[in-house]
């Protein structure tokens, strides 16, 4: 799949933002006044910033409001609802903590739950697609949620939680990569099933329908070199999990904490780039570009 910057920034940043809002909702920490303002400002910068990036990949962002109508069938529509509800609910809690110096427990816990549901719905947009075998697995929501919790724990300064979750995240991500590498082959879709010509012999793409490129090739047939991908995976794991863990183990220092956040977010961006760039869509079969 085409690794569009808008979608990479959207899923990465909003995941971190909702992760932080999740911990603030749990009251870990439960800052008041100016302190609360700073924490919530950072969380909203990530969450709302990410959501704004998502509108850049729409052909008609001015009609985005229509995306709220089909929540009965569409995960994208559910995500729209859940993100607005999560921002609204945590916003109420934030106003109480910043301006009235009180914590609304019920509102905050509801906000925390909505934050995780929002991240879950984002993941389900990808998980539901049988056309992209690498994404079509329960690992997709598991990973997205772990990313959000790890990033949230790191940003909210929950060092005790952040360390094990960052470790778990690294392990889950490596497992997902290995599992994902064989997903297309296991899906059973081949040029033979795509064309129905398999019973007559072995099928080879002889001539494409067009000499130039087209929307399908640009959007769905992105090829990353294997060596290139292996290097990027290593870089991603070191940045998103390895370095932050080391920085957290060192004696506490605000510089190290900030550095841990920065490397983690950089690692999330690299791994999200791979999430899209390495995802193989079955339509590539018709162009002889798979397997």
């Amino acid at each position: 799949m085409h690794p569009a910057p808008s979608v990479i920034l959207f899923t990465s940043l909003s995941g971190v933002g909702f992760g932080l809002l999740f911990f603030l909702g749990l009251g870990m920490p439960a800052p008041l006044g100016l302190n609360a303002f700073i924490f919530y400002a950072i969380a909203y910068a990530f969450a709302v910033g990410g959501l704004l990036f998502s509108t850049f990949h729409l052909g008609h962002p001015e009609r985005a409001i229509k995306a709220f109508t089909q929540w009965r069938s569409s995960w994208l529509s559910r995500e729209a609802w859940l993100s607005v509800l999560a921002l609204g609910m945590t916003g109420l809690g934030a106003v109480a903590q910043i301006f009235f110096e009180t914590r609304l427990a019920v509102v905050s816990y509801a906000g925390a739950a909505l934050c995780l549901l929002t991240v879950f719905s984002t993941a389900m947009i990808y998980r539901q697609l049988a056309t992209v075998p690498r994404w079509h697995t329960p690992m997709t929501p598991v990973l997205f949620l772990t990313y959000a919790v790890a990033g949230g724990a790191l940003l909210s300064g929950q060092v005790g939680i952040a360390q094990p979750v960052l470790g778990l995240l690294g392990a889950l991500q490596i497992f997902a990569w290995i599992q994902g590498d064989g997903a297309f082959a296991r899906s059973g879709s081949t040029l033979a099933t795509a064309t129905g010509l398999g019973t007559n012999g072995s099928v080879r793409a002889f001539e494409p329908p067009h000499t130039g490129t087209n929307y399908l090739l640009q959007e769905f047939v992105y090829l990353v070199g294997r060596k290139h991908a292996a290097k990027l995976r290593l870089i991603a794991i070191i940045l998103l999990s390895g370095l932050p863990i080391v920085l957290l183990v060192l004696p506490f220092n605000h510089m190290f904490a900030a550095l841990a956040v920065l490397t983690h977010v950089a690692g999330v961006l690299v791994s999200r780039w791979l999430f899209f760039a390495q995802a193989e869509h079955v339509v590539g079969l018709y162009y002889g570009k798979r397997g």
């Binding site: 009609r63 985005a64 056309t131």
Partner: protein, 248 residues
């Protein structure tokens, strides 16, 4: 609403005969022509006369080579457009309700004024049947020429999809695949019509008729083999020529 209808009154669709298609792309051109001049946003091209032309098409013709275990390779031309699936994943993912499947005839359409151009429906389609238009930024797909098939301003023989009307080899058939007694259903039954990527559970309405078995030539009977035989044992004029040249 982008929930799918439980069932549709008719299942209008195409039956494409891979045995007779000659790969002329006439259906591609007539589709582009009709759908650029009629219903909905025109199918735009970018850099049409430049170095990197790109454009929106609702129907595209691939060509595949099929190599049997023994015997000659076969070239199969393969037109592909929306299959108007019964279980259309492109419809249920749509957040705006722009994509829908009609209850009356099963045609899958996009309401272009509701489409936000998110592209998710194209991601969900296994067949590459949807393309986001480069100029209008809305999703385009085959409408089964919904503006021809019911159009009373057209003579009766033109009330079929443009591609079917145009095909010079009679490789494209249009009809109600929900009616077991329709001509298209009979054709599918007779020729073993098949679904594309049945493993994805989309239940396509459009069917493909597999190429018929070719005349069986054993490997020592291939056309090149017989030329070789002529060269080895020349007869008539070639035998005389051969002998004469030998003497020189």
């Amino acid at each position: 609403m982008t929930c799918l209808p439980k069932m549709t009154d008719k299942k209008l669709g195409l039956v494409i005969d891979l045995d007779t298609c000659v790969g002329c792309h006439a259906c591609v051109v007539s589709c582009k022509g009709w759908n650029t001049e009629n219903y909905g946003a025109p199918l735009a091209d970018q850099d049409a006369y430049g170095e990197m032309p790109v454009g929106t098409f609702l129907n595209r013709v691939h060509s595949y080579e099929v190599q049997p275990e023994d015997g000659l390779a076969q070239l199969v031309h393969f037109p592909k457009s929306c299959l108007h699936c019964d279980d259309a994943p492109c419809v249920t993912v749509c957040p705006t309700g722009a994509s829908y499947k009609r209850t009356e005839d099963g045609i899958v359409l996009v309401n272009e004024t509701d489409c936000i151009g998110c592209g998710l429906c194209a991601w969900a389609c296994p067949y590459g049947a949807r393309e986001l238009d480069g100029v209008e930024k809305v999703m385009k797909k085959c409408t089964l020429c919904v503006d021809r098939i019911y159009n009373e301003n057209l003579p009766q023989e033109d009330r079929i999809p443009a591609c079917v009307r145009t095909c010079p080899s009679g490789a494209r058939h249009f009809g109600d695949l929900g009616d077991p007694n329709s001509d298209v259903s009979k054709l599918v039954a007779e020729r073993g019509g098949m679904d594309l990527m049945p493993e994805l559970g989309t239940k396509p309405v459009n069917k493909y008729l597999p190429p018929r078995p070719k005349d069986q030539l054993s490997s020592d009977q291939t056309p090149t083999q017989s030329l070789q035989a002529q060269a080895d044992n020349p007869a008539g004029f070639f035998a005389w020529l051969d002998r004469t040249l030998e003497k020189l």
